[in-house]
């Protein structure tokens, strides 16, 4: 089974934050993970690389949790394919 968008997001966030796998969960908030604004930039950078997309600045500033990132990426991916 291919890795889901949520799994990829969690993996990328864990790598960018140097967190052990499993520490980032589907419902985690950035606050719980200790992600500050600078970390957020690194995560966006890594997510853009992972998915080959550009995340617009206004969308990026709204991300405060894993589910928000996943929903945002899914939106961007669907607009990319249509």
């Amino acid at each position: 089974m291919p890795e889901s968008v949520a799994d990829r997001v969690m993996r990328v966030i864990a790598q960018a934050q140097k967190l052990p796998e499993g520490r980032v969960e589907a419902t985690s908030t950035f606050r719980e993970l200790g992600i500050d604004s600078l970390d957020g930039l690194n995560i966006l950078f890594a997510i853009e690389e992972e998915f080959g997309i550009d995340v617009p600045d206004d969308a990026a500033t709204g991300f405060t949790s894993v589910p928000e990132v996943v929903a945002g990426i899914e939106r961007l991916l669907s607009s990319k394919t249509t």
Partner: protein, 398 residues
């Protein structure tokens, strides 16, 4: 007016990480110059440098912090930690300053980013690029990590950067603007862009750095950082601090002449200014840690300047022959060398020395250290663009 003393020293250099390997090598006359490992130099006219051996940032920083700091800032952070921890000082945060010197900023990060942009056509960059390349990143790192909230800034005067930084920090403590200061310099120039630029100036030696030798062929680029903790003497004595030496003078001048050719007059005026600031008669200076780059021009000009200032010649050596020319960080490395020379009564030599040059007629302590207690010493730094800075230190006898 307060007296100011050095109570902490920290070094990252081609001689190793820490003050101990640095001082051990300087005393032994061992050079850290060797083939550059950071990149392939086969297309360059030179291939030797003075790189920090085996520097692994993860030994000193967690993975995330290491990623946020350019190599030059990592060096500064490690040197500052050693100096501060060794001093045992407890800072009053708003009464403490951080002043660093840096000539070129975060070149490793910048070089990487530009390569990705121009050579690889990449459009996304490390989001930390800007805070990593800023020249003042080292001052910010030291301030943030140690909670120092007083005056905090970076001086950039090419190869005199750290001398101007230490001098200003010294004056701030002396005149009571702050009670303590963390000051020094850092540099990490081993990138292809930088090496090519230095190659174009035709001042880098194809062999090694032999200051004041007749067969000298130029400078050798180095990297590293050095940091000192400065404190008000009375406070240092009151808390029972170990005092390495007193910093007692700072002098500056500008050649207002040529962009790269040195001026003996400008250098002499900076030395004289430092002696006046220290209220020291020239006859009391027993040792000068020379700018001594090993270029044809510098060493002749500096010899003339020293002969113009001193009726009785002090002993002179150029430790760049061992730690290389780490640009804006060099004055800090040399300030530490001078402080330790005064403390231990051992004058480090000029390494790689072969034949005397009649145009450099000084006793440059060729190849072997001398065990001599001197009362006071100068550390010279003369930058491209004619910006000169000289620090004066005195042996502290408690």
């Amino acid at each position: 007016m307060r007296r100011v003393v050095v109570t902490g020293v920290g070094v990252v250099s081609a001689l190793g990480v820490g003050v101990t390997p640095f001082w051990h090598a300087l005393r032994a006359g061992t050079s850290g110059i060797g083939p550059i490992r950071a990149l392939d130099c086969s297309a360059l006219k030179f291939s030797n440098g003075a790189e920090v051996p085996g520097f692994d940032p993860l030994q000193y920083f967690d993975a995330k912090t290491a990623e946020q700091l350019d190599r030059s800032v990592q060096f500064a952070g490690v040197a500052a930690d050693e100096a501060i921890n060794g001093s045992g000082v407890v800072f009053v945060p708003e009464r403490t300053a951080v002043v660093t010197g840096c000539a070129i900023g975060g070149k490793p990060t910048e070089d990487d980013t530009y390569r990705q942009l121009y050579a690889e056509g990449r459009t996304r960059f490390d989001p930390m690029s800007i805070p990593k390349v800023m020249t003042s990143a080292s001052a910010s790192r030291i301030s943030m990590h140690h909670g120092i909230t007083g005056p905090c800034y970076t001086v950039s005067t090419a190869c005199a950067s750290a001398a101007h930084a230490i001098g200003q920090a010294f004056w701030m403590v002396r005149f009571g603007l702050v009670d303590a200061a963390v000051t020094g310099g850092t540099e990490a120039p081993m990138t292809l862009g930088m090496l090519r630029a230095w190659e174009a100036m035709r001042v880098v030696a194809p062999d090694t750095c032999r200051p004041f030798s007749r067969d000298r062929r130029g400078m050798i680029l180095g990297e590293g950082a050095a940091v000192v903790v400065l404190e008000d003497l009375d406070a240092a004595v009151a808390r029972g601090a170990r005092i390495h030496a007193e910093i007692c003078g700072f002098g500056m001048s500008s050649d207002a002449g040529h962009l790269t050719a040195p001026s003996a007059d400008g250098a002499a005026r900076a030395m004289t200014a430092a002696l006046r600031d220290a209220r020291l008669d020239p006859s009391r200076i027993g040792y000068v840690n020379a700018h001594g780059t090993g270029t044809r021009a510098n060493d002749v000009s500096e010899t003339r300047a020293i002969r113009a200032v001193f009726a009785t010649l002090p002993l002179v050596s150029a430790t760049k022959s061992m730690h290389g020319h780490a640009l804006g960080a060099s004055p800090a490395l040399e300030a530490v060398a001078t402080v330790l020379a005064l403390r231990d009564g051992i004058l480090p030599p000029t390494a790689n020395f072969t034949d005397a040059d009649p145009e450099c007629d000084l006793d440059v302590i060729p190849n072997h250290a001398r065990a001599i207690h001197v009362e006071a010493a100068l550390s010279n730094s003369f930058a491209f663009g004619g910006l000169n800075a000289v620090l004066a230190f005195r042996r502290y006898v408690g």
